[in-house]
Amino acid sequence: MSFLFGGPPKMTSEQKIAAAETEVEMVSDMFNRLTESCTKKCIPTDYREGDLNKGESVCLDRCVSKFFEVNMKVSEKMQGEATASKQSGMGFGM
């Protein structure tokens, strides 16, 4: 019954690796989604040139920045909702 006294529960090797894997997965998933959205929004599909022109480059830069901002806003909002519903004793069960 060492878990009663051993402080924080120790993760098995497999759990630690899986946790690290999930972390990398989250970031790479986010990158893939961002790439899809920003390409759709910034790159016209007629491909008149192989290079990125000025307009496309600036659009991509801003798109990444806004994607992160939206990410933050949603996260803040969700955290706010979770706190609010915890106080009123209902909701997500978080």
């Binding site: 989250m26 910034c42 990125l52």
Partner: protein
């Protein structure tokens, strides 16, 4: 990755490698589909005509450049976000 032993790190690296290969294949097939959809619309000939072939080359070129640029910006933003200590990636 904090708190992993050397052998755990090796296992993680092996899994990442497998995942990267898979991601590359996915990226590749998506790119083929995108350039095909955007560039090839004329089926009065059996092989790609010059215009289509040029379009496909530019499509790939542009994709590689834009994904490189997105990656740079992404790394910057992600590093900034991790420093400020919020989601994701902690």
């Amino acid at each position: 990755m904090e708190g992993l032993t050397a052998s755990e790190q090796r296992e993680l690296a092996a899994r990442m490698e497998r995942k990267q290969l898979k991601e590359f294949m996915t990226m590749y097939s998506k790119l083929v589909q995108r350039c095909f959809d955007d560039c090839v619309n004329d089926f009065t000939t059996k092989s790609l005509i010059n215009r289509e072939e040029g379009c496909v080359m530019r499509c790939v070129d542009k994709y590689l450049k834009s994904s490189g640029r997105l990656n740079e910006r992404f790394q910057e933003q992600n590093a900034a976000m991790m420093q400020s200590g919020s989601l994701p990636g902690r």
